[in-house]
Amino acid sequence: MRVEQIAVFLENKSGRLAEITRVLAENNINIRALSVADTADFGILRLIVDKVDLAKDVLRKGGFTVGKTNVVAVEVPDRTGGLASVLEVVTEAEINVEYMYAFVNKSGSDAVLIFRFEEMDKAIDVLQEKGFTLLTGAQICSL
């Protein structure tokens, strides 16, 4: 129940994000979710796209440093306490969150939380045990 995510190294200079999105658009790659983490000196762009391998390929050809990692996508009802209920479970199990980001499903009834955990397998087990819905990459792309 893992979702493939690509990460791109971003220098802090103008136009880099625009360049990435242009390359993806030209190759008909659709971005489903993204987040940018930044420090004073550099940033990391994390993307969930419909064509992971193609995206990685074209970005690499465009001169970017690209990595592929696995994340977990948890679907929760889009209402107060949705995120809190997930975090409560992982805290209980003493699992660290490396980073996370979220987006709201188009239908408006659900939200999708993307997590990078320190112990990915343990997190998947615990969340499934507690009855959370984990999405696959294909499911995210069809949302």
Binding site: F9, E11, A37, D41, T65, V66, G67
Partner: protein, 432 residues
């Protein structure tokens, strides 16, 4: 003969002293230093061939590579039991340049440094604030013994802790400041921060060297500290500080103590000696040192020599402020840095690409070195903390090797411009 006599001799009188000393030196090194003998034999020159100062050009040059090849003591001309002190510079790839001094060399060093201080009007009764670093670096101790030899009072404060330095300068009534020019400006900032002005101090003169500095910087130091700022030149290989010094009357250049250090200017490409007034690489022969004599040492510093008489009455030849280097060495906050040292550290960090660039700038009065490192897929991570750890590791290892802190900038692959020939490793944005 006292200093005053030597420094005001007619040129011919000085040249006869130089020739006598040069001849004795050449016989001595041919006898005592096998690598020199080998080089002289290879060049087909024997000690008896040196009949005039013009014959100096028959002797082979000595370079930093010769020093490195004979690391640590292979070029010493006296047995180690006569060597009472060693100093070392930071060399490339971890190997330093080691220099040694006999008892007589230490006395000579103190005397040339005292003569330099005298040119800046320092006398007994002066309170001399010595903010050059103490240790293996020749700056601090070299100046220290000169101040004592002169009979002035030395405050061996060394570098760092500017706030405390300002307090000491005020409370002790320092009249003379010895420091790198950039540290002098740093002290001026610390004074401003402490809410004190030059009027609260008794400082009269600043003696600044160990890094390149411009006339604009001199004006800034003079204005901010309310002093007369003069330039001093020296390098560990030759003796340390005390090779050449500006007098208070000079309009151009530093007097070289050429009864001890015989200067030449050569064309860095052809290595042919150039006449007075022409720009080239400065070369020194040490005429009087015992433990570590050097023949025609290529300093890599670019300068010019002038021999018109100076208003102060000294007939010693003068050298222009050093305007550049013939190699890629950088001087950052008084520390010698070779790009190859940075490269050595980077290549030791797993996964780091061979593409890097060093940027040097001046923020306020301090030199700042940034190292740009291209990030490759094998070290890239989607987690910020992993990349930050990498930056910290490179910074710590550079600090270990160079003794200075660099800013590390991780950059995208291929973002550092590739060149057709020799890579441009250094961008120096400092306005000297």
């Amino acid at each position: 003969m006292n200093w005053q006599e030597i420094e005001t001799l007619p040129r011919c009188g000085l040249e006869s002293i130089q020739l006598r000393r040069l001849q004795a030196l050449v016989y001595r090194i041919y006898d005592k230093v096998p690598p020199y003998r080998a080089k002289m034999d290879a060049a087909g020159v024997q000690p008896q061939d040196i009949q005039s100062l013009a014959d100096l050009r028959k002797l082979p040059f000595t370079t930093k590579d010769d020093l490195r090849d004979n690391y640590p003591f292979g070029l010493f001309a006296t047995p180690m039991e006569e060597v009472i002190r060693v100093h070392a510079s930071s060399g490339t790839t971890g190997k330093s340049t080691v220099v040694g001094y006999t008892q007589a060399d230490i006395a000579l060093w103190a005397s040339v440094m005292a003569r330099c201080l005298t040119m800046a009007g320092v006398t007994r009764g002066d309170m001399v604030h010595n903010a050059y670093g103490y240790g293996l670096f020749t700056g601090g101790l070299g100046a220290h013994y000169g101040i004592e030899a002169l009979g002035a009072t030395v405050i061996p404060v060394s570098g760092g802790n500017s706030r405390r330095q300002v307090m000491i300068m005020r409370d002790f009534g320092s009249t003379v400041l010895l420091s790198t020019p950039s540290y002098a400006l740093n002290l001026a900032d610390a004074m401003a921060d402490a809410g004190v002005t030059p009027d609260d101090f008794q400082l009269r003169v600043g003696i600044h060297g160990a890094e390149p500095w411009s006339e604009n910087m001199r004006e800034e130091v003079e204005r901010k500290l309310g002093i007369k700022a003069v330039d001093i030149y020296g390098l560990s290989e030759i003796i340390g500080p005390g090779v050449a010094m500006e007098c208070l009357q000079t309009e151009r250049g530093m007097h070289i103590l050429e009864d001890n250090f015989l200067p030449e200017i050569v064309d860095p490409d052809t290595l042919e000696p150039l006449p007075y007034g022409e720009t080239g690489e400065l070369v020194f022969t040490t005429l009087t040192k015992e433990a570590f004599p050097l023949i025609r040492y290529r300093t890599k510093d670019i300068s010019r020599l002038f021999c018109e008489p100076c208003a102060c009455g000294r007939t010693l030849v003068r050298m222009e402020k050093v305007t550049g280097r013939t190699d890629d060495m950088l001087i950052i906050r008084g520390v010698n840095v070779f790009p190859s040292q940075v490269e050595h550290v980077l290549m030791g960090v797993e996964g780091v690409e061979p593409h890097y660039q060093i940027e040097v700038s001046r923020e306020g009065s301090l030199d700042v070195m940034s190292v740009l490192v291209e990030i490759s897929e094998n070290i890239f991570s989607d987690e910020i903390k992993v990349l930050e750890q990498l930056s910290r590791k490179i910074r710590a290892e550079l600090k270990d090797m160079l003794g200075i802190t660099a800013k590390i900038k991780l950059v995208e692959p291929r973002s550092i411009q590739r060149s057709e020939g020799k890579a441009q490793r250094v961008i120096d944005r400092r306005k000297i």
